[in-house]
C-alpha cells in the first residue's frame, strides 16, 4: 500500500521530468548529419546493400560510412573487428544510443553486410605517396576530424608539431607503428611524464586516427622539403673542445658524469634533439629516498611519490610503501637537481659546445 502511494506521488514528478526532457535540446544529430554531396561511384551506389545503407544508416554514419565523430563511429573497415553475425546482431537489436532495425533481415541484411564489407570507394583518391595499407582515405578523413578536435592543438593541424607537442611525422612511435599497435597504446595510456593526456577512443575512432596519422606521415616522407623540426645536422654549430672544457670546468658535469663511464658511447645511443634534451634535463631520472619511521627504523628505496602530504618509495624488492609525511622524516637524494641548478648559468654557446663534445663520445 505504502509503495503504491509513493508511486502516486512520484508520477507527477516523473511527468514533470519528462516535460523537462522534452524541452531539452535534442542532441543535434539531425543537424550534424546533414548529408554531404559527395557522389559514390555507380557500381556500389546502385547495389541493394548501398540503398539499404542510405535509407537506414547514412543519417548517422555518413553517406560514405565515414562516420560523424565523435558522436557516430565510421563503419569503413568494420569487417576487420566485427564478424558478420556480430554486425547483424547490432543492426537488429541496436547498441548504446543506436536503435535496432529489426525489419532489416534476409536478403536485405545480406546485401547490407556485403556493402559494409566492401572497400572504400574514395580510396582510389588516396593521398599521393601514402603507404598502401588496409586503411583507406575515407577513414583517414574521419580520423582527420577527430585529430583536429583532440590532437591538433599540441601536434599541429598537419601532425607536424604545435603547442608543446612534437612532430608526429618524425615520431619513432609513428614510424614503428603497424596498423595502430604502437599509436593506440600511447593514445589510450597517455604520456603523463610529458603531460600528454590519455584518450578513451573507441576502436573505430582509433582506427581512423591511425589512418590519418599514417597518411600525414607518408605525405611528409614524400615531401622532405619544408618540414618543421630539428635535424641532426642542425645541431652541429658548437665547438667540441670548448664543450669538453665546459664539461670538466664551468658546467660541473664531470662531478657526476664521465666520458669513459656512464657517458661512454652516449652518442651511439642517442642523437640529435633527443641527445640534446637528455643532456639538458634527463626526464624520468630516479631519485633515492630514506624514510625514518617513528620507531627509528629506516627504509631506503627509489622515490616513487612525493607531494606535501605523502611520501612513497619502491624498495629493493620492488614493493611500494607510502607514509603520511606528518608521521615520518624523509631525506631525498636527487642528483638530477644539478641539471636544474645549471639552467640559470647556460649560454646558448655553452649548450652548442657541450652538444658538440657529447657527439664525440661514440
Amino acid at each position: 500500500m505504502k509503495r503504491l502511494r509513493d508511486v502516486a506521488i512520484l508520477t507527477p514528478l516523473i511527468a514533470c521530468l519528462a516535460f523537462y526532457l522534452a524541452q531539452a535540446p535534442i542532441q543535434a544529430a539531425s543537424k550534424a548529419a546533414t548529408p554531404t554531396q559527395t557522389a559514390q561511384p555507380a557500381s556500389t551506389q546502385d547495389s541493394p546493400g548501398s540503398k539499404s545503407y542510405s535509407t537506414n544508416c547514412a543519417i548517422c554514419h555518413g553517406d560514405n560510412r565515414e562516420g560523424i565523430l565523435p558522436a557516430f563511429p565510421p563503419l569503413l573497415g568494420i569487417q576487420h573487428h566485427l564478424t558478420d553475425p556480430q554486425i547483424s546482431e547490432i543492426i537488429q537489436k541496436g547498441k548504446d544510443r543506436m536503435p535496432g532495425f529489426p525489419d532489416i533481415k534476409g536478403d536485405e541484411m545480406s546485401s547490407l553486410l556485403h556493402y559494409l564489407a566492401s572497400a572504400d570507394p574514395s580510396a582510389a583518391t588516396a593521398v599521393p605517396g601514402a603507404k598502401s595499407t588496409s586503411q583507406s582515405s575515407g577513414l583517414a578523413d574521419a580520423g582527420g576530424a577527430l585529430f583536429l578536435q583532440n590532437c591538433a592543438f599540441c601536434h599541429g593541424r598537419d601532425t607536424m608539431g604545435g603547442e608543446s607537442g612534437p612532430d608526429l611525422t618524425r615520431s619513432k612511435v609513428v614510424l614503428a607503428d603497424v596498423n595502430g599497435d604502437q599509436i593506440s597504446q600511447v593514445v589510450h595510456e597517455g604520456r603523463p611524464e610529458k603531460k600528454m593526456p590519455a584518450f578513451n577512443f573507441s576502436a573505430p575512432e582509433m582506427q581512423s586516427l591511425v589512418a590519418f596519422i599514417h597518411a600525414r606521415a607518408a605525405l611528409a616522407a614524400s615531401n622532405p622539403g619544408g618540414r618543421r623540426g630539428v635535424d641532426v645536422s642542425d645541431l652541429q654549430t658548437g665547438n667540441a673542445e670548448a664543450g669538453k672544457q665546459y664539461f670538466t670546468g664551468a658546467g660541473g658535469c664531470s662531478q657526476c658524469h664521465s666520458p669513459t663511464g656512464d657517458l661512454a658511447g652516449v652518442a651511439k645511443r642517442f642523437e640529435g634533439l633527443e641527445l640534446e634534451q637528455r643532456m639538458l634535463y634527463p626526464r624520468g631520472a630516479r631519485s633515492k629516498v630514506t624514510v625514518t619511521l617513528p620507531s627509528g627504523q629506516q627504509m631506503n628505496g627509489t622515490l616513487a611519490y612525493l607531494d606535501e602530504f605523502v611520501v612513497a618509495l619502491r624498495d629493493a624488492k620492488g614493493t611500494y610503501h607510502s607514509w603520511q609525511i606528518a608521521n615520518v622524516k624523509y631525506n631525498v637524494n636527487s642528483p638530477v637537481e644539478a641539471h636544474v641548478n645549471q639552467f640559470s648559468k647556460y649560454t646558448d654557446a655553452d649548450i652548442h659546445n657541450l652538444m658538440a663534445y657529447l657527439q664525440t663520445l661514440r
Binding site: 502511494r5 502516486a8 506521488i9 507527477p12 514528478l13 514533470c16 523537462y20 524541452q23 531539452a24 535540446p25 542532441q27 543535434a28 544529430a29 543537424k31 550534424a32 560523424i68 576530424a145 583536429l148 578536435q149 583532440n150 591538433a152 592543438f153 599541429g156 593541424r157 608539431g161 604545435g162 603547442e163 608543446s164 612534437p166 612532430d167 603531460k195 593526456p197 578513451n200 622539403g225 619544408g226 618540414r227 618543421r228 623540426g229 630539428v230 642542425d234 645541431l235 652541429q236 654549430t237 658548437g238 634533439l273 640534446e276 634534451q277 639538458l280 634535463y281 607531494d307 606535501e308 602530504f309 641539471h339 636544474v340 639552467f343 640559470s344 647556460y346 646558448d348 649548450i351 652548442h352
Partner: protein, 529 residues
C-alpha cells in the same frame, strides 16, 4: 495517524509541484545591473565580477574552520574532456561547459537540470564557460558559432557564426556582457589570421562592432595574430573594457613581421559601445615565443607608492608582472616573477626589450620560460587586505628552433619544453617582490586562484589536490585529493547561508562546504547523544 502524515506529505508535495513551475519560470533572469555589484549568492560573470580580482567577500569558511571543509556534492559529466571553465551561478543554478557541451546544475544539490550538446568540428582544446544576459546564455563553439540559449532549458535562441573554422579559427572563450553588448573573441594561431573582438546584440545576434588586433593578412611587413581567446575585464566608470591579445603569426619566425607587431601580445583598452581603441600596451613587443598576453587584466583601485590609482595588473605569460595606470595605459611597474632570459632590459615605456639573439634559430635557443609560459589562462587573484597578487607561476626552460625550411606560415618553427614546476607566488604589487611562495610540484599545476575576505587562498597542486592556503603566509590549511590536477579557476558563493567553494578535476565538478547538520544528527543531539 500514519495515513494522515502521508496524506499531508502528498499535499505538500502537490503544492510544491504546482508552485515549482511558475517560480522556476520567474528565475534564471540576470538583471544586467547586478553585474556591477554581484550579490553573494551569485557568480554571474566569468571572473565573478568585472574587476577580475577573483576575490570574494565571503567569510564563512575561515583559516580557523577550513580544516573541517568537506564535500557537499560532486557532479560527474561522464565524458572525457577536462573541465576548464568557470561556472556561472545565477538564481541557484550553475552553468558550466566543456567544448560542445553546457550543463545546468542545481547549486544546492549538484543534480543536473539540463544538458546541451552540439557536436562540432574544429579545435576541442578547452572551453572557458558561458556568459549571461537577462534570461539568455551565450556560448562559443569550436566551429566559431556564438549561440544564445534559453537559460531555463537550453533551447537555442539564436546562432551566429562569427569566424571561419576552415581558415583555422576556433573559439573557446566565455563572452563578456557589458550593458547590451555580448563581446566574444577568437582563437587560431596555426594560421596567419587576424585576431578580433566582436560585439553582438543580445536579443538579435546582430554585429554591433568589431575591433581587429592587426592589419589584414597579406599587408606587407605586418603581422597577423593577436587572438582574443580569454575573457576581459571592465571599468564602468571609465567605460572601458580591458582585453589581452595573443601572439603574432607566423609564431616562431618574426622576419616577415619586423617591428613591434601591434597589437599582438598586448593589453588593450576599448570602448564597449563603439569598439574604438582607447590605448594599447604591448607586454611582448615582437614576440617570437608564443607568449599570449591574454592572462586576466586585473583591475585594482588602491594606492601605488602613496598615490591613489586606478590600476591594471597582469602576471603575463612572458614572465613579467605588469602594473599599469588603466586610465592612460602608462606603465607603473614591470618586473619578472620567475626566471626569464629573453630580454635586454626594459624600455622607457615599461616594456621588456626582446633580445634578437633569443629569437628561435636553426641550432636552438635556450629560453625561459617555456612556451606554456610563466603562467597561462587560469586566473590569478588579488587580495585587497594584504595587497598580494597571487598567481600560479611556472618557472620553466625550453629550446626554440626555427630555420628557413620551416617557412613563414603558422607555427614556422618548433619548440620543446625541458623542465618546469608549479609555484604559487604572492607578489607585492607595489614592488614586485615575492612575499611568499608555495611549491606545487614538478611540471606545474595549472589551477587558478581564488582569495576570500577571511584570508583563504584556494588553488590546486600538480598532483590533483585542491589546497586551501593561508593568504598571509602561504601555509597549507586544508587539502583533498581530487584525482587529477585542476585545470580551471575556483569560484565561491553562498546559498541559504552556506558558503560553497567549487573546484574541478577531469570531468568532475566538486562543491566543498562546511559540514551541515542533517535531520538525524540534529535529532541525536536533541536526545543528548
Amino acid at each position: 495517524m500514519k495515513l494522515r502524515k502521508d496524506a499531508s506529505a502528498l499535499a505538500i508535495m502537490a503544492i510544491l509541484f504546482l508552485a515549482a513551475g511558475p517560480i522556476h519560470l520567474a528565475a534564471q533572469n540576470l538583471d544586467p545591473a547586478n553585474l556591477l555589484k554581484p550579490p553573494a549568492d551569485s557568480w554571474p560573470l566569468y571572473h565573478g565580477d568585472y574587476s577580475g580580482k577573483r576575490h570574494s567577500s565571503l567569510s564563512q569558511i575561515t583559516p580557523q574552520n577550513v580544516a573541517n571543509l568537506s564535500l557537499a556534492w560532486a557532479f560527474q559529466t561522464n565524458q572525457g574532456a577536462q573541465i576548464k571553465s568557470s561556472p556561472l551561478l545565477v538564481d541557484g543554478v550553475l552553468f558550466f561547459t566543456v567544448p560542445d557541451n553546457i550543463w545546468a546544475v542545481d547549486a544546492r544539490s549538484g543534480h543536473q537540470i539540463w544538458h546541451y550538446n552540439r557536436p562540432s568540428k574544429g579545435e576541442h582544446i578547452g572551453h572557458r564557460g558561458v556568459a549571461m544576459y537577462k534570461g539568455w546564455l551565450y556560448f562559443t563553439t569550436p566551429d566559431c558559432h556564438l549561440i544564445s540559449l534559453n537559460a531555463k532549458d537550453g533551447s537555442v535562441h539564436w546562432d551566429k557564426q562569427f569566424a571561419d573554422p576552415n581558415q583555422g579559427y576556433w573559439s573557446t572563450m566565455a563572452p563578456l556582457v557589458v550593458g547590451n553588448h555580448i563581446i566574444a573573441g577568437v582563437s587560431g594561431d596555426f594560421d596567419n589570421l587576424v585576431g578580433y573582438l566582436r560585439s553582438f546584440d543580445p536579443e538579435t545576434g546582430e554585429t554591433q562592432w568589431q575591433w581587429n588586433s592587426t592589419p589584414p593578412a597579406g599587408t606587407p611587413n605586418a603581422t597577423t595574430g593577436g587572438m582574443t581567446w580569454m575573457t576581459g575585464t571592465y571599468d564602468p566608470e571609465l567605460n572601458l573594457i580591458y582585453w589581452g591579445t595573443g601572439n603574432p603569426t607566423p609564431v616562431l619566425n618574426g622576419q616577415t613581421r619586423p617591428g613591434d607587431d601591434p597589437y599582438t601580445c598586448s593589453i588593450v583598452a576599448i570602448n564597449p559601445d563603439t569598439g574604438k581603441l582607447a590605448w594599447g600596451f604591448q607586454v611582448s613587443p615582437h614576440d617570437t615565443h608564443d607568449w599570449d598576453a591574454v592572462e586576466t587584466p586585473v583591475l585594482v583601485d588602491a594606492d601605488f607608492h602613496g598615490k591613489p590609482r586606478k590600476m591594471l595588473m597582469q602576471s603575463s605569460r612572458n614572465g613579467f608582472f605588469f602594473v599599469l595606470d588603466r586610465v592612460t595605459g602608462q606603465s607603473l611597474l614591470t618586473v619578472p616573477y620567475g626566471p626569464v632570459n629573453w630580454n635586454l632590459g626594459i624600455d622607457k615605456q615599461g616594456r621588456p626589450i626582446p633580445d634578437p639573439a633569443k629569437e628561435p634559430a636553426p641550432d636552438g635557443r635556450f629560453i625561459a620560460p617555456d612556451e606554456g609560459g610563466m603562467t597561462n589562462y587560469r586566473a590569478p587573484s588579488f587580495d585587497p587586505k594584504t595587497g598580494l597578487f597571487i598567481v600560479d607561476a611556472h618557472p620553466s626552460y625550453s629550446i626554440y628552433f626555427a630555420k628557413p625550411a620551416d617557412g613563414t606560415y603558422g607555427w614556422a618553427g618548433a619548440d620543446y619544453g625541458l623542465w618546469g614546476k608549479g609555484v604559487i607566488e604572492a607578489i607585492d604589487y607595489q614592488t614586485g617582490k615575492i612575499r611568499w611562495s608555495h611549491e606545487l610540484g614538478p611540471g606545474g599545476s595549472g589551477a587558478g586562484v581564488l582569495t576570500t575576505d577571511s584570508g583563504l587562498t584556494i588553488t590546486g597542486d600538480a598532483f590533483g589536490s585542491v589546497l586551501a592556503l593561508n593568504t598571509s603566509d602561504g601555509k597549507t590549511l586544508w587539502h583533498a585529493g581530487m584525482g587529477d590536477p585542476m585545470q580551471s579557476s575556483p569560484i565561491t558563493y553562498q546559498l541559504d547561508g552556506r558558503q560553497y567553494i567549487l573546484t574541478s578535476s577531469g570531468g568532475v565538478l566538486f562543491a566543498w562546504a562546511l559540514p551541515q547538520p542533517t535531520p538525524a544528527s540534529l535529532h541525536s543531539q536533541a536526545r543528548g547523544n
